[in-house]
């Protein structure tokens, strides 16, 4: 294996670009799991659903998938509200979220995957956009636009979310729910409504991340499973409930994965994120920027 500067530089750039995408994938979990304590392991399933919706619309009308996902994000928002309603009524209110709530999300993950399999089969689907095959070059370093465009939109989304959460009244209410629900209730704010809104927001980000995914790589229904470990690894590594931590964790995992596929081979890449997760859980469960 040749260990040249160009190779290393390219791996770093690819890792950072990938990390930007990972931030979009994980920011939803950072909200739902980190702030609301809703362990939504079905998050990747919504991402894949977002990919397929972007794919269908692109196939029919030729619109840009990322644009489509942004326009359709209210749809995912509504879906998120619905799911949180069911989750709250059936599990959270009865205090059964730890076991049955988890099983519920696992079931949703499974149903989404099998339904997509039944409709679309096991073929890989990819959306070709006009920038898909363009690569900018800066010296020896490649900047493939299929990674740069999702990277840029994703960063804008994550930073926007952070600003929304820290600056607006409703955003601060979400952060307050994360810290003390009882206090919120004493101030005559309904924590359930705030959580419903925040959870819906997290599902909306999943829809957008799905469009990024299908621009970056071909998508197949069961690919979502590989992202379960990734999203939790990013959130736990960065620190639960911290959006900046999620961004940092995403960059670290992106770099780690890019270096593994460059120097060890892509078949080892899935083990990186899960290995990181196991290590983070075992040695530093509070994360790098955790509260």
């Amino acid at each position: 294996m040749e260990f040249s500067t160009a190779l290393v530089l390219n791996a770093i750039v690819a890792g950072l670009l990938l990390g930007g995408f990972y931030a979009a994938v994980s920011v939803g979990i950072s909200i739902s799991f980190g702030m609301l304590d809703v362990v939504n392991i079905a998050h990747p399933a919504f991402i894949i659903a977002g990919s397929y919706i972007a794919y269908i619309v692109n196939e029919r009308f030729g619109f840009d998938p990322i644009l489509v996902s942004l326009v359709l994000s209210p749809l995912f928002f509504a879906l998120g509200m619905l799911i949180y309603r069911v989750y709250y009524l059936c599990f959270e209110r009865r205090g059964q979220e730890s076991l049955r709530g988890l099983a519920f999300f696992f079931g949703i993950l499974f149903i989404t995957e099998v339904t997509l399999l039944l409709i679309f089969g096991v073929d890989y689907r990819l959306v070709e956009t006009h920038y898909s095959s363009v690569t900018l070059r800066l010296g020896a370093v490649d900047f493939p636009l299929r990674l740069v465009v999702p990277f840029a939109v994703s960063l804008a989304m994550v930073v926007g979310l952070q600003i929304f959460l820290s600056r607006t009244f409703f955003g601060r209410a979400v952060l307050a729910v994360a810290q003390d629900q009882l206090a919120l209730r004493l101030m005559a704010i309904d924590p359930v409504r705030v959580k419903e809104f925040a959870f819906a927001l997290s599902i909306a980000t999943a829809g957008v991340a799905g469009a990024f995914l299908i621009v970056i790589q071909p998508v197949q229904p069961s690919i979502g499973r590989e992202y379960i470990g990734l999203v939790f690894a990013v959130c736990v590594l960065g620190g639960l409930g911290s959006i900046w931590g999620t961004l940092l964790g995403a960059f670290i995992l992106g770099l780690a994965e890019s270096f593994t596929s460059t120097f060890l081979g892509p078949s080892w890449a899935p083990a990186v994120s899960f290995g990181t997760l196991l290590l983070a859980l075992a040695f530093k469960p509070s994360g790098l920027l955790g509260r």
Binding site: V39, I41, V86, C90, R94, Q96, S98, L99, R100, L102, A103, F104, F106, G107, I108, F110, I111, E113, V114, T115, L117, L118, S222, R225, E226, I228, G229, F232, A233, V236, S267, W268, P270, A271, F274, G275, L277, L278, L281, A282, P285
Partner: protein, 315 residues
């Protein structure tokens, strides 16, 4: 019912099931019964940690596959006999359960659940990249030509083994449930901090239950290579094992050994029928829908209905 009586009853049923196999005309029934029994073990094993202790394991497929791949490995390395491989696979999967438990059971329960999800993918990647056991291509197992005990075909022996292993799993689960261990686990499930304060050795009991649960799942997988005579990673790590071993106890009821048994027999049989009459993708969809339906609408499962009916009759 005392433990000894229970053991006798289970063994009598097991012998009856083995004897009944003599009546089966078609080999399909063996493979159907084998699959259902495999799920009985997986569901019972999952319930030891999930139902008794309240910790969700999403990695049943990983433990199952560890059992299967221990067999593949030993078969290639030593040409070991079947009983030795069953013991080895059980031990290795048990150690894996202990290891994962040791790393994550000290934290909040949800971290254990996430770690088990991760475990399945890490092990899958390892096996795919491990050429000795066939890698992504898979491995062939050549069945011995001689079938012991004068049985007509090898599948008969595998079926009998599965019956005995299911009986063993049920006895283990019920013994745990009725002993001081089971009471300790129930205390952890209901309120871990209160249990710790009352002197229940929570971590040790959780580790014990993770080990036993993992070991039984591994045991269910040890005969898979012989049953399929060809194993590949995506077959051994199939997500359907994970989802079934969660769905079955939830549908049957999680508080006693009977729930997973009922759930596994019911759901396993339904799946066999659907698989033959419709398709295997549909049968997975049915499991998923049933899982979500039961968990939202009937959280205590079928045993919950039975208990409610009993209570009504008693009063």
């Amino acid at each position: 019912m005392r433990n000894r009586t229970f053991v006798v009853i289970v063994l009598v049923v097991a012998v009856a099931l083995m004897a009944a196999s003599r009546l089966a005309i078609n080999d399909y029934y063996f493979s159907a019964a084998y699959t259902v029994l495999q799920f009985v073990i997986l569901a019972t094993a999952w319930n030891i940690l999930g139902g008794y202790t309240g910790y969700v394991n999403f990695g049943s497929a990983a433990f199952f596959a560890v059992g299967a791949y221990t067999t593949v490995f030993l078969n290639k390395w030593l040409h070991a006999p079947l009983p030795l491989m069953i013991v080895a696979g059980t031990v290795v999967a048990g150690l894996l359960g202990l290891g994962v438990g040791y790393l994550t059971l000290r934290m909040r329960g949800v971290f254990f659940a996430i770690a088990t999800l991760a475990l399945a993918v890490v092990l899958y990647t390892l096996v795919v990249n491990w050429d000795y056991v066939g890698g992504a291509r898979g491995a062939y197992i050549i069945l011995p030509r001689e079938v012991p005990f004068g049985l007509p075909r090898y599948v008969h022996l595998l079926y009998a083994t599965m019956v005995l292993m299911s009986a063993f799993a049920l006895i283990v689960a019920r013994t745990i449930e009725r002993s001081f261990i089971g009471r300790g686990l129930a205390a952890i499930r209901d309120d871990e901090i209160a249990a710790e304060c009352s002197g229940v050795p929570t971590l040790r009991l959780k580790l014990l239950s993770a080990t036993v649960s993992g070991a039984l799942m591994g045991m269910a997988g040890t005969t898979l290579p012989y049953y399929l005579s060809y194993v590949e990673p995506s077959a051994a790590f199939n997500l359907s094992y994970a989802v079934n071993s969660i769905a079955m106890p939830l549908i049957g009821g999680m508080t006693s050994w009977l729930g997973p048994l009922i759930g596994a027999v019911l759901l396993g049989t339904v799946q066999q029928v659907v698989q033959v009459t419709v398709s295997s993708a549909w049968n997975l969809l049915i499991v998923g829908v049933l899982l979500v339906a039961f968990v939202t609408l009937a959280p205590n499962g079928i045993m919950g209905w039975v208990d409610a009916w009993r209570r009504k009759n008693a009063s």
